[in-house]
Symmetry: C2
């Protein structure tokens, strides 16, 4: 079997512990290129850089043949990788391991998941991995078993299918993780608070903070439920935002 | 009837011709607040600002009671507006008019649409408007009739329903616009090219450019088809990215 060619990226920056861990896992499965943002890009969503220029800078922390830091967003990294840097199309894109959850509505704010989604849009099977622990010192070792299981599924059983996965791993000791659960995105949102401070010139500035609400805590088929009950949540992702339910209703109001 | 309270925002920046046009239209329907980025934020997707701070700066170009420029993304603007600045929850959020199309997969890269989607996530009916003309000198006058029709529908027939609309307007003389068509998001993607240049120190840098491909040009129920055939396209938007088709298949492979 041809060795798979795997692109590893993230949104916390190329030197983050999460991506160092993920590139190490990826090397067990194929030839690995690491191309990721040169600095943290959490919350970058599906942003791309069009008003300014991009640089491709060599990096030496992952010990792979192809390793670059990009002064842009996670989506920029995937676009540059696939369309400019890499000698061939990757067989798989892995994004993460993110420091913090990307379950529920977080998926649309997440740079980690946007990189995976961009890979999917370019026709490459992709997965984003997140550990539910925001600390820079988070322990990723309990994630490894499940990340391997997902990668193996992507490279064997799902070999010829285009898919994008949002994988979240609870921050639990390994004996408390109950396995993988395939689920849907929970309905929820963030309600923001803005902490006001005064600068040395007495002018106000604001830090965004917020609180997530799960709108359906009882539903047992969601990623939120899975994570809160000790499972690794896996949500397959698609990119059609059409609300078909409203579409049918609207057609009646706007008779064409 | 209580006068509606309308928030107007965009991604091209608070001084762009498109938002000046939109705030003028909005004033016909209610009390208007304009809170928008202080500079162009095209392609900002659903990005939020969490690694740096936000400023709320007074602005005086829209002649409304509430008018601020924010040094952040369109989503930041909506979050700050709803959770910090505005005295009450808006009845409606209007985003745009964007200079350039946001049909098909553009919706996920679009700052204009991300502002509308953020409004929807906060429980506020929202619409993003885009004119298929990237020029700063684009003529928005042919859009007005259709924007009014959409706003009137949102404020009357759809008054109590939470909805988010992606409205794209073809760049045609008014007599050639065939009306409004309710449609679904066309499947498509961008294939990027990166133009390489050398800086004065002989180091390379890159500009992102790209070409959009509609994967289903024959399908007549898509926004792309509508725009290419002289219609104003209206796609109702939802935010559940779960791929239910893959979910059922995956459940069999990952027996829980």
């Amino acid at each position: 079997m041809k060795k798979p060619f795997i692109l590893v990226t993230n949104d916390d920056g190329i030197n983050a512990p999460g991506i160092l861990y993920l590139s190490k896992i990826a090397k067990k499965y194929g030839d690995v290129a690491v191309i990721a943002p040169d600095k943290p890009q959490s919350g970058s969503g599906h942003a791309i850089t069009i008003h300014t220029t991009l640089r491709i800078l060599p990096s030496y922390v992952h010990h792979t043949d192809i390793e670059y830091a990009i002064n842009g967003t996670p989506v920029d990294c995937v676009k540059l990788s696939v369309n400019k840097i890499l000698p061939k199309k990757p067989d798989l894109i892995l994004s993460g391991i993110n420091h913090g959850s990307n379950s529920s509505i977080n998926v649309i704010y997440s740079g980690t998941m946007s990189a995976a989604i961009e890979g999917y849009l370019e026709g490459i099977p992709s997965a984003g991995f997140s550990l539910c622990n925001y600390s820079i010192e988070a322990d990723f070792s309990n994630s490894e078993k499940y990340i391997c299981q997902i990668i193996e599924w992507l490279l064997t059983k799902n070999k010829n299918e285009l898919i994008c996965l949002n994988v979240n791993i609870p921050d639990l000791p390994s004996e408390e993780i109950r396995g993988i659960k395939i689920c849907r995105q929970a309905k929820g949102n963030w309600v923001e608070d803005f902490e006001e401070r005064l600068d040395p010139y007495n002018k106000p500035y604001y830090w965004m903070t917020g609180k997530f609400t799960n709108f359906e805590p009882q539903a047992q088929d969601t990623d939120e439920w899975a994570l809160n009950n000790g499972y690794v949540s896996v949500v397959p992702i698609q990119t059609d935002l059409t609300c078909y339910q409203s579409l049918d209703k609207m057609k009646k109001d706007f008779l064409e």
